[in-house]
């Protein structure tokens, strides 16, 4: 077993015999050798490491030449013949009825991304995993069998399901060891788009392809407005260099400061996603961000975009937007109409910070393409598309909670970070780097320093400001039916502030306000971005009994301690 999301075990102590064996394997001569030179460094490094890919225009920080992470390097299938693994295939749709059972194998697969053959993981050999569709209020079963080298679980992100099936090792279940199975019984009380992923070393397993969507279908045919077609877009990135997939930290994650940003952006596991539509089509996009740390700002050219729903519900009302800001683990449902023939790029459009040059750099990466034909769509939905619907059921539901909106917080958290034993040049440089901290980190602004920071040296912290307790020390207790206001402040006064996508398991919440500014159009969420320097007020409905996790959904932050549990008693 390697590092897991087990709150009761100090992260730095979670090293297993498996990890030791892998480290020995990776230290064999010739197992991994970098294939490029950068900044005068040797392409060969010890322990299976090679230098992290980085922007060549950025200078090497003096004193870091030849530096390596303090943790070992890990890649799946190292030393094994890649041809022995089956080639992964695209995601398939699986429609489940109430009581149905789906068998899911967690296995090693072969993939080719950006011209590199690599061993990855897959659910049923697919990328992403199967798109599971189930009717609202059903109970469906998923039998998971683990065939990969390390233990795993599946967390059903956003579902208000029974606690024992939440997929958190050490909290709700034992990890599923290699060769073992676990039967998940999934209650799906809310309609919308959810997703599933491991809760064991997400920085590795999720990044290697273990993710998929679960679409819960409302019995109401008018739940969402009319659309000509639906497309599911799973947004992701991977870190790849000349030698292929860049190694992960073995005992704990590398890239602990900022998370592991990829340099290859993907939609549905591929780099060239596209769709052909007819002129005038209204396309409903289901967006899910499964990246370890990257927040996307998704644009659809000049096409009009209407936001309809997010994590756990529809918005109170549909609203026009010009882009979609989607943090790790968030979901958004948007309707987009393509009125003109031609090609529309779906892009990630952000302003990266270049700390060295002290500038914001406009950066646009094409995620996918929509080819719009000259032929007009047979069923013109323009009129309904241009009508912004009010979701009265959502408004009525939220109205029940308005008496709690203005009261003082029941609990307050502050996010911060503690570091130890980082190389001195990093410590010194960070003092310069943090001269200005942006509210959001859209890119890896310091790839070398970030890579060299591991979960052994970095502790990300959620601190209860009332008690001073941190992370696993926090033990909030509630009763079913409690409505709890939680204030989360992301302090800029730390060694390295960063935005955090804050996720609460098993419940739903509203983002009431940001920096005192009330949200004008509410929606039920399970994950919300807390920008640097901001204070976000959340109203959590404690409707689901059990012991649940709350954590940052940047995988490397989670595995650097940024999590706690709370209990809701029946």
């Amino acid at each position: 077993m390697i590092v897991q999301s087990v709150p009761s075990i100090p992260l730095r102590l979670r090293v297993s015999a498996f990890a030791t064996a892998l480290a020995a394997l990776l230290s064999m001569p010739g197992v991994l050798q970098a294939q490029h030179e950068m900044h005068g460094m040797s392409m060969e490094m010890e322990g299976g490491w090679r230098m992290a890919p980085m922007d060549m225009s950025m200078p090497m920080l003096p004193g870091l030449e030849g530096a390596m992470p303090v943790v070992g390097a890990f890649l799946p299938g190292m030393g094994m013949d890649i041809s022995m693994f089956p080639e992964a295939r695209p995601s398939r749709v699986v429609e489940l009825a109430d009581g149905d059972t789906l068998a899911v194998a967690v296995s090693m697969v072969r993939r080719t991304i950006a011209g590199h053959d690599m061993v990855m993981y897959g659910y049923n050999g697919q990328y992403p995993g199967p798109l599971i569709k189930a009717p609202q209020h059903a109970t469906v079963m998923v039998r998971v069998t683990n065939e990969i080298q390390m233990p795993t679980t599946i967390h059903w992100h956003g579902l208000r399901l029974r606690n024992e099936f939440d997929g958190v090792p050490g909290v709700t279940q034992d990890p599923i060891e290699r060769g073992e199975s676990f039967l998940y019984e999934l209650d799906v009380p809310d309609a919308g788009m959810f997703w599933y992923h491991p809760h064991v070393r997400e920085d590795v397993q999720q990044d290697l392809g273990l993710f998929g969507n679960l679409m819960v279908l409302s019995p109401d045919p008018e739940f969402l407005g009319p659309a000509n077609r639906e497309e599911v877009l799973v947004l992701d990135d991977m870190l790849i260099d000349d030698a292929g997939l860049f190694p992960y930290g073995l005992e704990s994650p590398t890239h602990a400061l900022m998370g592991r940003f990829g340099n290859v952006l993907m939609v549905n596991g591929i780099t060239d996603w596209s769709v052909d539509v007819r002129r005038g089509e209204v396309v409903r996009f289901y967006l899910t961000n499964v990246a370890n740390t990257r927040t996307f700002n998704v644009t659809f050219g000049d096409a009009p975009v209407k936001i309809v729903a997010s994590d756990v519900s529809r918005y109170e009302r549909e609203q026009w937007v010009e882009s979609v800001v989607i943090g790790p683990a968030e979901r958004y449902i948007v309707d987009v109409r393509f009125p003109d023939a031609g090609e529309v790029a779906i892009a990630n459009s952000v302003q990266n910070v270049n700390h060295f040059r002290g500038v914001f750099e406009p950066t646009v990466d094409t995620l996918g393409r929509v080819r719009v034909a000259e032929d007009a769509v047979a069923e013109d939905l323009r009129e309904s598309f241009e009508h912004l619907r009010v979701h009265e059921e959502v408004v009525d539901d939220i109205d029940r909670f308005r008496p709690w909106f203005d009261r003082e917080p029941d609990h307050s958290l502050v996010t911060t970070v503690r570091v130890r034993d980082l190389p001195l040049p990093i410590m010194q440089s960070m003092e310069m780097d943090t001269l200005y901290v942006p509210p959001m980190e859209w890119n890896d602004a310091m790839p070398m320093m970030n890579w060299l920071s591991s979960g052994e040296q970095v502790t990300w912290i959620l601190r209860d400001t009332d008690t001073g307790l941190e992370n696993e020390e926090i033990d909030w207790r509630f009763d079913v039916g409690d409505v709890v206001k939680v204030r989360v402040h992301n302090t800029p006064d730390s060694f390295h502030p960063m935005n955090h996508p804050f996720h609460i398991h098993g419940q739903r919440f509203l983002v009431l306000s940001t920096d005192g500014v009330p949200s004008e159009n509410l929606v039920w969420k399970d994950t919300a971005i807390v920008p640097v320097g901001s204070t976000v007020d959340l109203l959590v409905e404690m409707s689901n009994p059990g012991t649940w996790m709350a954590h940052c959904h940047i995988a490397e932050h989670l595995h650097s301690g940024m999590m706690f549990s709370f209990t809701v008693e029946d």
Partner: protein, 218 residues
């Protein structure tokens, strides 16, 4: 994936007090209050340059009551510092708070990824002038684009800005009701967004050839 953008748009930032005090190696490090005032005057003078472009004012009616804004950190607060060019303002202090413009997301950005903010100017100690009125503006650090936030009422006004780096200036205008594209009166207060502190080793080192003197550097 193909990369469309990625070019840098290096700008030469106008030094603020924070900037000047940090960059002890910078020529601007003489950064005393006096030096700051000189730089701001330079900025004001630059605004009358004929080649400057002016855009239409942005939305001036904020959606957020000024009193609702609550920042638990002053990290992004913009200190508004008097230039001492306007009588009875020398000891007045104020701030410009920034919050994300309302949107369905916690973080609001434009399609090009720029932060979309509401700026809340607060100068509670500011007395009404004997003539004219105070008007708040935001401008890019190159001062090539300017937006009028509006006339201060009781020392307050709010508006919207979608730039990652910007200056806030408060001027004394003869006719504050006239919605001109740029100020004509003297600058009474000025401040810079926190991002202006990204005035770094490369921007004025061997990698750039900025005309820093235009911004007050010697």
């Amino acid at each position: 994936m193909d990369r469309i953008g990625g070019g840098s748009a290096v700008v030469c930032a106008v030094a603020t007090g924070v900037l000047a005090s940090f960059w002890s190696v910078s020529p601007a490090s003489a950064g005393s209050g006096r030096a700051e005032a000189r730089e701001v005057r330079d900025a004001g003078e630059a605004c009358s340059a004929p080649e400057m472009s002016v855009r239409a004012p942005m939305r001036v009616s904020p959606s957020v009551p000024i009193g609702a804004v609550r920042r638990d950190s002053d990290y992004y607060s913009i200190d508004l510092v008097p230039t001492r060019r306007v009588p009875a303002t020398a000891y007045v202090r104020g701030t410009a708070e920034v919050t994300f413009s309302p949107s369905p997301f916690v973080v609001t950005v434009t399609p090009d990824g720029s932060y979309d903010y509401e700026v809340h100017v607060r100068l509670p100690e500011l007395r009404e002038p004997r003539g004219g009125g105070y008007v708040a503006w935001v401008t890019t650090t190159e001062i090539d684009e300017i937006h009028r936030l509006g006339q201060l009422q009781d020392g307050r006004v709010s508006g919207r800005v979608a730039w990652n780096k910007f200056l806030v200036v408060v001027t004394l205008e003869e006719d504050p009701m006239v919605a001109t594209g740029r100020w004509t009166g003297p600058i009474a207060f000025r401040g810079m967004s926190r991002s202006g502190t990204m005035h770094t080793m490369a921007g004025h080192g061997p990698f750039q050839d900025e005309k820093c003197a235009a911004y007050g550097y010697q």
